[in-house]
Symmetry: D2
Subunit: 300 residues, 4 copies
């Protein structure tokens, strides 16, 4: 976990203008909450949400998420940031101190399927996501019109085995130029390279169209059909180097039966996928997810 | 909310022996968490769980639940209790400071239906409930054998309109003699009097066999059948003077269809009832429920 | 139930071109299925789906839905229709014999909320609905762009108390001119008059934003918030003269908790509404719904 | 699928005394339903339930389940059975013709976990299962008291690697002596030998404590914990020679989160297991399950 600064703190008078989100993970020991609370009291912070989780009371790890308002945050921020460094050092914390008013910037990767992209665009327009969608990148041209009808730039970057290195360079340049914070693979169906993953560690969300770890890999609905499962699902997870094995953020399922052929499984599954992906994205944007090893702590 | 003392604190070496649960509700203002945390730090408490909720950031109500371990709680308890009085006064708190090792004592009221009683007895025997079941009280003799096979005393207290006052006196005497903390109406099907309710304010849990507020009153499955609903449910709530209108603790539902006649709705509903009631009881026993007005805050 | 003829039977070679759907309700007695099956065998029909339901084996009602393919349906249709009249008379059947290839024609009524409209348009474009959307009618101009971006005509028909009779005349004329079969109230929020309802008996589907019969009438999410329910829902039903009391087609629910304010209930509920409405519309379009009294038999 | 005869047809006047259940699977072609319906009409049968499913309209498989009442079934049975043989031959049917009044006989295999056994015993006593529970067989003595308190014989048959062949002989003799039709592995935790499985082909139901095909094999809750899934499940399936790979009958799931340690996953999972197993057993007892290859068609 890295510390993000206040550079993009929104000026002005949004309701979130004075709000910070603090995420901590550290070895558990007495006094952490007291130290943090004292620090917040000293800065006249008003805590509006607090969640904590100790993995194991005897010598385990401690996770904390706090949302709090600080009067005149813009003025107070440098001192807050500076003072917290001491606490973080004392308790060996990894932490983030994120201004709620700073919009994260999103790039959505797509292929030909439109349902996940449309759900994200639609929820974004309805105000569900406090974020900027900087671009949509597709390896096919099919979804250009969808993106552009929401006034989002669309970049068609075809992918072929020979072009792989070029494609990745193009992708990374596009993301860098637009200050992208979060990459969403909305049924992108292409393998992401290890070097790309490292540069966006725990900031690439994929939607896999099965209830992981069942049906890893290709054609999960076909696999589900042939296994004769009575429930199908979808899984949103952070992308790691091992395929479909990254930390799971959210899953959901729906009941099916023998009447459902592969096409109807795809249709039903598509409804689950878009809902699961949208929830995962929303939680990421609100700094609700802490990753430890290959698992997530989600404070909802 | 009343303050319960440490009288029944378990001596000895259970893993919970040093654990306290603190529940607070008070007007929201800056400094509450800091004050509580400082207090806990001063007593060398190690916080193992913390949940808070502010109903409205601008001038609303604040709810807090903390679980923490204190070295040598038995020795430390009197000073902790004393010191907290000052904080509570400063922030106008209603609060509870409950030793986790103190088992609550339960009385289960039943009529003729066995499924909710059996679920409670069974989960209790499996260790899901840290509590004593002091007695089962039935207005019919039918379920005596069930209670006694779990070594729980069964009191048959017939109810007739003429006997109402006597019945209530008998009930209250039985509860008082056995130091009962929690009354569970496990499909008891009788109206509880206002004076009884007042004596066990927010300590009587009823299971209503519908998804409240739909189908208040008698024969909810018959009502559901005739309305043609596609989903049925059950509701666990604290009992208040208005029938089926008390604070809802937990609800759950299941899908049904036109093929389900009233008998099958009852059978399916019975499964929901027992699960919902068991969850509500578990949360009450772990001090996870705060009541404000006619609603509950459940920290799960 | 009325008999719809073959007038709009699609010419040509769609996979559905030879398929009929037969819906029957009649008093139960031995021999119904045998008579129908013999009739189908005589016409060389190949049954591809069959569902039946008897409300009560002793003297109740019998419901049947069959899908079957007939070679050269267009040629065979008149004789099939004629022959079935005798069977229907013998068993006092109400029935429909609907060619699957005949697209139903839809009018969607909206107000200002876009989520239900967008879901319908989107699923329609994705091929989930075999139907024509003839028009969108709004009492506000807000959603014109949504309709028109799918190339659907939008009629803005403002509603004021004084204009009620004129409005209804306009509505009915629009529907009649476009041969509309099905009216969908996609959060239309206006009362439909009894005479309108009679002309589209069991052909007006409304989405109510609560788990009926809980929270009938206005502001159901506000009602749900104040009652403190732990689950919210939505209900698709045919519109009858009594408000929110028509035959329920489909319901669904989602878990909420004390943290959800009215706005977040609305957001979560909106997701349920669009899914429930889309399922109900799909079943209606596939002739899967039989209405008896105030209840539905849905053969899914 | 084998044909079961009428040998155990209940004499007398139960409501089911005249009811038969017909299950068919055969290659699909026109005329099957007509032939069956004509046959039933000729025998004055009154159809009370009918479900059919065609896997693929063009040359696939056809599945049918019918429940019907025949006047004086006991007298009519031999001729019905005889006449149906011709239809079955004509359409190459595999079929069962089961008298509903014939109680299936169950043996439940257990180890040390009590929740699945108790659920089955309890639902059986409440009338949910129309069956005889002939015995409980345990490889440990722990659950004897549970079985005997329901007046079910308990056989303690210890299992050790050296004794495997003896154990199987003992099991099979016990089942044969008691005319057992259905074997339920209620968390038995032992591998069943191929020869045993062949003798009870599609008549051994196992409950696996995961959402198959995720977490095949041992310790699925531990596997689920380490993978960090957000939903856990259970699967009831017929036992085949490949471990945890037999035809799935029913599955269900429940949401969990990072707070759930392995013990709490086990507790939550146990609730799912018992519900899933009970549903699967109920469907088997009512002849609602048809197996094709490694999948089930469940007519519910």
């Amino acid at each position: 976990m890295e510390t993000h600064g206040f550079t993009f703190l929104a000026h002005g008078n949004t309701p979130l203008a004075n709000r910070l989100r603090l995420l901590i993970s550290c070895p558990d020991r007495p006094g952490i909450v007291a130290a943090v609370s004292r620090f917040l009291a000293d800065h006249e912070a008003n805590i509006v949400a607090s969640d904590q989780y100790t993995m194991d009371p005897d010598g385990g790890l401690f996770y904390l998420r706090m949302e709090f308002d600080v009067p005149n945050l813009l003025e107070a921020a440098p001192r807050i940031e500076q003072d917290f460094v001491r606490i973080a050092a004392e308790f060996q914390m990894e932490y983030q101190l994120n201004p709620a008013a700073k919009k994260k910037r999103i790039a959505i990767f797509v292929s030909k399927e439109d349902h996940c992209l449309l759900e994200l665009l639609w929820q974004w327009r309805s105000g569900a996501f406090f974020a900027d969608i900087a671009m949509v990148i597709g390896n096919h041209p099919d979804l250009r019109q969808h993106a552009e009808s929401f006034d989002i730039p669309y970049h068609h970057v075809p992918v072929t085995p020979e072009l792989k290195a070029d494609v990745e360079r193009t992708h990374l340049q596009l993301l860098k130029d637009a200050n992208v914070d979060l990459v969403i693979l909305a049924r992108y169906m292409q393998i992401i390279s290890p070097s790309f993953i490292q540069q966006y560690h725990n900031r690439i969300i994929n939607i896999h169209h099965s209830f992981l770890p069942a049906f890893v890999g290709g054609n999960p609905y076909k696999q589900a059909y042939h296994r004769g499962v009575k429930i199908i699902g979808a899984t949103a997870h952070y992308v790691t180097e091992e395929l479909d094995a990254g930390p799971i953020i959210e899953q959901d399922v729906q009941r099916v039966n023998h009447k459902n052929d592969i096409d109807s499984l795809k249709r039903i599954g598509g409804m689950i996928e878009r809902a699961v992906l949208a929830r995962a994205v929303g939680w990421h944007l609100e700094d609700r997810i802490l990753v430890h090893g290959n698992k997530t702590v989600v404070f909802t």
